[in-house]
């Protein structure tokens, strides 16, 4: 009887552990997939980030997949985190580049407005002098 009870408990524990492990595997796979999608989005959108940084993320995602297939969930988890941080870094670079470009564009526009203003000032001075010339006559 004891043996039966012990076997049943072990069986239940094993079943629970198995189902838990299966659930974790699915979650890891979907995370890897999500990272792939994010990276693909970054690659298609931006040309301003260094290729080697993109390649690192890509390489680590592949590494995570291999590790997962080898049944090493712990290592997979680390590699995924590393890849995830790298993707975050790539996004930061894209944002930085966007704001930098905006600064450059605004600077250029400011320069344009300034030179237009100077031009207007000079023309206005000429017109004022012409008026003065007429009034002095």
């Amino acid at each position: 009887m004891r043996t039966i009870i012990a076997t049943t408990i072990l069986f239940l524990l094993f079943s629970f552990s198995y189902s838990q492990s299966k659930g974790n595997d699915e979650e890891t796979l979907s995370k890897i997939k999500a990272l792939e999608i994010k990276l693909s989005g970054i690659q298609s959108k931006s040309t301003v980030i260094p290729t080697e940084e993109v390649n690192k993320a890509s390489e680590w995602i592949e590494e995570a997949k291999k590790s997962f297939n080898s049944g090493r969930p712990g290592v997979t988890q680390i590699i995924m985190e590393k890849a995830s941080y790298q993707v975050e870094y790539l996004n930061a670079l894209i944002e930085e580049s966007r704001v930098k470009r905006e600064v450059e564009e605004k600077k250029e526009f400011l320069q344009k407005i300034r030179s237009q203003t100077e031009e207007l000032k000079a023309i206005n001075k000429e017109v004022e002098n012409e008026i003065k010339g007429f009034e002095d006559k």
């Binding site: 680390i78 590393k82 207007l120």
Partner: protein
């Protein structure tokens, strides 16, 4: 959640037993961390900085424990987080710069707008001035043309009263001033042209006024003496000349009978201009010597004078001379008596 993940990662790394590549110098992670701090990572990306610091410390610890593989992974993650913090900081710096630029842009746009408004106003004003000036120029041209026309009329009028004889200086000045006014008109100097045109008018009017009286006086005398039978008349600059022929027989001392009507008519004319001086000049014939001709001429002139005095003309008005033989341009002239009626008043001589 983040802390849980960090914990799991740390645990997993700590329990990993797979062989790893030799660890690199973790100083690179330290340097990046310091760089991130200098660039304001602490303020702009506190979470990333916290993680970078955490992983760096883990790497340091694992390195001390001889776990090179784990140390390498921690170093890598620390560097990624530091670089992320640096990027976020730089983005923030750009955003701050952007704010300053946008402020300057607003300010400059406002200044530009002001200049645009001012320029628009000034251009309108200039247009109005130019329009007025064009109208004024048209008027000036018209006035200058009118003035020149008037000056020309006045000069013609002065010439009509023989100002050339009576006031040549004023007439010359009027003509010269008119030419200058005409020149200024062609140069577009309308104002100057008008001024000179007006001056020409004044000068021509002076010439006209000063000549008119003498011209009328001379015309009146000419008109009357031209009716004297046998008399030849000629206007002079300052008088009228009357040539009388056949008053005396050659070398004669008495007036011929036929000459009395002419002398009477002359006396009548002279009586009408009682203040005008008269010169009687006798030109002789060639029959005698020069001395004799002079003497005969003097006698004849005195005779004519006396006759005229006998007709009521004041003797003070007369001057008598004898010219001897009359020669003009190498040709001998007939004997004659020239009576010159001067236009200036007797009292002024």
């Amino acid at each position: 959640m983040r802390i849980v993940i960090l914990f799991i990662v740390t645990l997993t790394l700590a329990s990993a037993s797979k062989a790893a590549p030799t660890v690199k110098d973790i100083m690179s992670a330290y340097n990046l961390l310091e760089d991130a701090k200098r660039q304001g990572g602490g303020a702009y990306a506190p979470q990333a900085m916290k993680e970078a610091q955490f992983f760096y410390e883990q790497a340091e610890r694992e390195l001390k424990n001889g776990n090179d593989e784990r140390a390498e992974e921690f170093r890598l993650i620390s560097e990624i987080r530091s670089k992320t913090a640096i990027s976020i900081s730089r983005k923030k710096t750009y955003e701050n710069e952007l704010q300053v630029i946008e402020f300057q842009l607003d300010e400059t746009s406002s200044i530009k707008k002001n200049f645009e408004g001012e320029l628009r106003k000034n251009v309108t004003r200039l247009g109005e001035i130019k329009e007025k000036l064009a109208i004024s120029q048209d008027r000036m041209l018209s006035t200058a043309l009118d003035t020149l026309e008037k000056a020309s009329e006045r000069i013609n009028a002065a010439e009509g009263v023989s100002a050339e004889d009576f006031n040549p200086q004023a007439l010359d000045e009027a003509r010269q001033t008119y030419s200058m006014a005409e020149e200024d008109l062609t140069l577009g100097e309308y104002k100057k042209s008008i001024e000179l045109g007006e001056k020409a008018i004044d000068l021509a009017e002076i010439a006209y006024e000063r000549s008119k009286t003498k011209f009328e006086l001379r015309s009146g005398i000419l008109d009357r003496v031209s009716r004297i039978y046998g008399a030849k008349t000629e206007p002079l600059k300052d008088g009228v000349k009357v040539n009388l022929h056949g008053v005396f027989a050659p070398s004669g001392k008495t007036i011929l009978f036929d000459a009395f009507p002419s002398l009477d008519a002359l006396a009548s004319v002279l009586a009408g201009y009682s203040n005008l001086p008269v010169t009687i000049e006798v030109y002789a014939s060639e029959q005698n010597s020069d001395d004799e001709n002079i003497k005969i001429g003097e006698t004849q002139a005195e005779t004519v004078k006396n006759y005229l005095v006998s007709k009521g003309i004041s003797p003070q008005r007369f001057k008598v001379t004898s010219a001897g033989l009359g020669v003009k341009e190498g040709v001998k002239e007939d004997s004659r008596i020239e009576v010159i009626i001067h236009l200036f008043e007797l009292s002024s001589t």
